[in-house]
Amino acid sequence: MIEVAINFVLFFMLITTAIAAARMTHLFAVVMLSGTFSLLSALLLVTLDAVDVAFTEAAVGAGISTVLMLGTLALTSRTEKPSSHSPLVPLVVVVVTGAAIIYGTLDMPNFGAGDSPAQLGVAASYMERSPHEIGVPNVVTGILASYRGYDTLGETAVVFTAGAGVLLLISGLRARRRREDEEDDEAGAGS
């Protein structure tokens, strides 16, 4: 009962935040509102007991994307241009997509149902086997690091490659800018 009330209040705040963000034209305020939106969705995920997903949402949504969007604002304009087309077509697309997604949830098992496919599959056997096969107290860690070890290794390699690539690109850009600045200075001194 209390959790239902909490969910209602949080969803109400989420919807009002979304509407306010959609109606605002000052982009800095929109960035602030999107940060609040992520914090609210993180709170909703915490009430759903998905603490790890909630933390990812807060770190990526409220932390990194706010910083990235502010960096974008620093490079571009701070106010929204008035759009030239009618908002009717995007609205229809969004409503149809949302209706399709809600229709898709009708087949899903209830929240926390014991007979959902996730509970009936291999989960029980992993719960049984992992303590004596692997010896890690946390079953999720055991699955990630041992049963799915090669998969996790591949994921880590992909993330590392992406990070190294971004760092290389940024450092190359910086070095080029510095060189151009020095050339400008020399040209200014010579003229």
Partner: protein, 97 residues
């Protein structure tokens, strides 16, 4: 008792959201987002005790850290009009002094 605390937190959140929507200045909004982050931390704590499982208190601490770093980034944007690479901005020499 924790129900009362949760209700009071919701009331505080609504007040902060009103300030966030209405503005009027950008600093009001920055302060509102920062304050809302603090309310998130508090609400995670209250929710843990409300459901009888206060295991997530350490995660609330992490939220406090994210909130702090985010606010620093926003204020840095206000000060320098850029997030990274400050030395490249012309006419900004010695702005930190």
């Amino acid at each position: 008792m924790f129900v009362v605390a949760a209700l009071a937190l919701f009331l505080a959140m609504v007040l902060v959201l009103v300030r966030l929507y209405a503005g009027p200045t950008l600093y009001d909004r920055v302060l509102a987002v920062n304050s809302f982050g603090t309310h998130t931390v508090l609400f995670i704590g209250v929710l843990g005790f409300l459901t009888g499982r206060p295991d997530f208190l350490d995660i609330a601490l992490l939220y406090a850290m994210i909130n702090f770093v985010g606010t620093i980034a926003i204020l840095k944007y206000f000060r320098y009009r850029a997030i990274g690479d400050i030395s490249q901005i012309p006419g900004d020499q010695g702005a930190g002094q």
